[in-house]
């Protein structure tokens, strides 16, 4: 089957310095695509941003630019990548090139964006390694990645990403590939570094526990759309969209005494190519009503309480969508 997939269709987020937004959703819902598109990292031949804007406030002159409009291979985006906006990825095992030392790859990022000598850059790199909790930084800097463990590699990635003090950090499933104990360490590390650098953080994950730990605000995505967003507390305590409710309900609570069965969301995520108009969640929604949910344009974001938005055809009227990313 060939065709055009609308991987992201209706995402509107605002990120603030020192605050963390968590983007939650199942695999394939478009969260990674959203993350990659901020830095224009999507493959040029097979993807395209057709509409929308990504507004970013630059570090030195505080000028606001629209990242959608600039050349994805040009000097401007390259001066932002790794310097003002950094991204860390899910698979630490494959995120570093195996044929260059860890130091080589970090120093490369430093020298690229700052006019300093090699020795100074090397010192800086060692400092970064120490600040992410890698004690033997002086020897580790000359190691090859395959000699490090997964957790160590992820710390190296974080060191590399933060080496130029970005104002926005995008973390695409940073802990998914790690053991649970390491996960906790990495999350602590990210939180403390965020405080230290006052960065805005966009954390993407399907793990609700991680979100609960780290995020000030939450946005829930399904098949390319944000279906609900709000402050952490609001979404966790008062979920409104059927999908969000289903997600929260499906998490088993350890220690709870109950003889009830687990309550998963029935069905599975459908093929994005095959979605026709109307709500994409309708095939699995327990309150599906044919009249409202089928064949309509998608619902607008409706503010049900201050800061808490929901997009559901059963909850509001169809109006225009608003909002942008800073």
């Amino acid at each position: 089957m060939d065709g055009i997939v609308r991987a992201v269709d209706g995402v509107s987020l605002t990120l603030k310095p020192g605050k963390t937004i968590g983007l939650v959703g199942e695999s394939g819902c478009g969260k990674s695509v959203t993350a990659h598109s901020v830095l224009r990292l999507l493959p040029l031949k097979t993807s395209q941003i057709t509409e929308g804007e990504i507004l970013f406030r630059r570090q030195n002159d505080k000028e606001i630019i629209d990242l959608v409009k600039i050349d994805p291979q040009g000097k401007l985006i390259r001066s932002i990548r790794g310097k003002e906006i950094a991204i860390i990825f899910q698979e630490p095992m494959t995120s570093l090139s195996p044929v260059y030392t860890v130091g080589n790859q970090i120093i490369e990022a430093i020298i690229l964006h700052q006019q300093i000598e090699y020795q100074e850059a090397r010192e800086h790199a060692i400092q970064m390694l120490k600040s992410v909790g890698l004690g033997m930084a002086e020897s580790m800097i000359d190691e090859y990645p395959h000699r490090l463990s997964g957790g160590q590699r992820q710390r190296v990635m974080i060191a590399m990403a933060l080496s130029c003090k970005p104002s926005l950090l995008i973390a695409d499933e940073p802990t998914t590939a790690l053991d649970v104990t390491i996960q906790a360490q990495i999350m602590e590390l990210l939180k403390s570094l965020q405080k230290q650098f006052q960065m805005a953080v966009l954390i993407i994950t399907h793990n609700l526990g991680v979100i609960a730990e780290m995020a000030d605000e939450i946005a829930v995505m399904y098949l390319g759309r944000i279906v609900e967003k709000g402050l952490s507390r609001q979404v966790f305590e008062n979920p409104l969209h059927p999908y969000t409710i289903g997600l929260l309900k499906s998490v088993p609570i350890i220690g709870q005494q109950t003889k009830k069965k687990l309550a998963p969301i029935p069905g599975s995520v459908p093929d994005p190519l095959a979605i026709t108009r109307g709500c994409a969640f309708r095939l699995r929604c327990p309150v599906y009503k044919q009249k409202e949910c089928l064949g309509q344009e998608n619902a607008a974001m409706v503010e049900v309480e201050p800061g808490h938005f929901i997009s559901c055809l059963l909850y509001g009227q169809n109006n225009g969508v608003g909002g942008n990313k800073n």
Binding site: N238, L240, I245, I265, P266, L273, A274, P286, Y288
Partner: protein, 390 residues
């Protein structure tokens, strides 16, 4: 706000009850999704293969070659041994298709004259004489597929000669010899690959499946065999064949010799595939269910590697055809009266002769075309064998 909360409590309960999931909506699943689920693996492979036009062309060419080889004696106007010594070293003749407006193929007759440079007697086309080319003409008798005696040829002439690709030093028609020679060139490949496959499949699968010392031993064997440069090794082995052996024995000996090295590549390929499959859950499931090793190998592993076997067999053919041609070209392979493309090329070894009569090289083009076609086909099959990636 209040009634939103009520609604969300209601939804929570619905999830718990799970009875509200309406199957019929989910079954509105797009028809294309259903099609993807229902199509068998073979059909998906076929569809992917057909889209690759070059591979299809390759396949058609191969099919054509083998068909022609099957009916070679019929298609060729002359038999293998027919000599027309007065027409030796004749250049390829053109067939003209229209005789004064009517569709009637003919060739020019030949008249003798003396080449001014070499002072040798040569035959040149005589435009005055037009000899019609007849179809389904009676010629020298032969045995179709070696069994059925017949003497009708697809085309020919009643007098003179029709030589599409020229003649050699003994006046034998190259076209006929090439067509009939294709029988051996193309079948040695088949037999050779079949033999290599039998050895290679057995050893490769065992090596991959059992691992341990079996694997080590077989891998060492393969390493050692591959340490020899192949063509010199084949040359040495074929040269050791006694000269008094009958041509048929030589034929089989050569296929065996070719297979002795050929199996290593096949074994390696299969071992790799088996190693990957061995880790798959369905193998472990079979083991847990108590299946014997033999059962797992024959019932699970081999069918799973089947498409891969077809691909590597197709890709192994070119090497076989090439090897036989090279060896026969050097005089170390098949021996006359057995004729293959490589044997035909022996005449091209003499450079002086070749420069004078370059059409003697033409069998080599047939070798190249068949190798090319097999490569295209094999490549297309390899892409199609994994229909799950784009």
């Amino acid at each position: 706000m209040i009634d939103y909360q009520e609604k969300s409590e209601h939804i929570k309960k619905l999830y718990e009850r799970q009875s509200t999931f309406d199957e019929s909506i989910a079954h509105q699943m797009m028809s294309s999704e259903k099609l993807a689920f229902a199509t068998s693996q073979w059909r998906m492979m076929w569809r992917k293969f057909i889209r690759n036009r070059i591979a299809v062309v390759g396949g058609i060419v191969i099919l054509l070659f083998y068909l022609i080889a099957l009916f070679a004696n019929f298609i060729a106007p002359y038999t293998l041994q027919e000599r027309m010594t007065k027409y030796s070293f004749l250049a390829p003749q053109r067939i003209h298709f229209f005789n004064e407006g009517k569709f009637q193929p003919f060739v020019y007759g030949l008249k003798g004259s003396r080449d001014p440079v070499t002072l040798m007697r040569v035959y040149v086309p005589d435009p005055e004489k037009r000899i019609p080319v007849r179809f389904f003409i009676r010629g020298e008798p032969y045995k179709l597929i070696g069994l059925i005696p017949a003497s009708t040829h697809l085309f020919g002439v009643e007098e003179g000669i029709v030589s599409l690709l020229g003649t050699d030093g003994q006046g034998r028609d190259m076209f006929s010899r090439i067509i009939i020679g294709s029988q051996l060139s193309l079948t040695i490949g088949l037999v050779g690959v079949a033999l290599s496959l039998i050895i290679g499949a057995f050893l490769g699968v065992s090596s991959g499946y059992f691992g341990g010392w079996v694997d080590n031993l077989i891998q060492r064997m393969i390493e050692i065999i591959r340490s020899f440069p192949p063509i010199p090794l084949w040359m040495a082995l074929t040269a050791a064949l006694p000269s008094h052996w009958s041509p048929l024995r030589v034929y089989f000996a050569i296929t065996v010799i070719l297979s002795l090295i050929g199996w290593t590549w096949l074994a390696r390929q299969l071992r790799g595939k088996v190693l990957a499959l061995r880790e798959e859950d369905f193998i472990m499931a079979a083991q847990l269910a108590g299946a014997s090793n033999r059962w797992i190998i024959f019932r699970h592993l081999i069918p799973a590697t089947f498409s891969h076997i077809i691909v590597i067999s197709t890709l192994a053919m070119p090497a076989m055809i090439l090897a036989e041609s090279a060896l026969s070209f050097l005089g170390l392979g098949l021996r006359p009266p057995l004729t293959s493309w490589g044997v035909l090329l022996q005449q091209a070894q003499n450079i002086q002769v070749l420069l004078l009569y370059p059409w003697l090289m033409i069998p080599g083009f047939f070798v190249a075309i068949s190798i090319l076609a097999f490569n295209f086909l094999g490549d297309g099959l390899r892409d199609a064998a994994d229909p799950y990636t784009v």
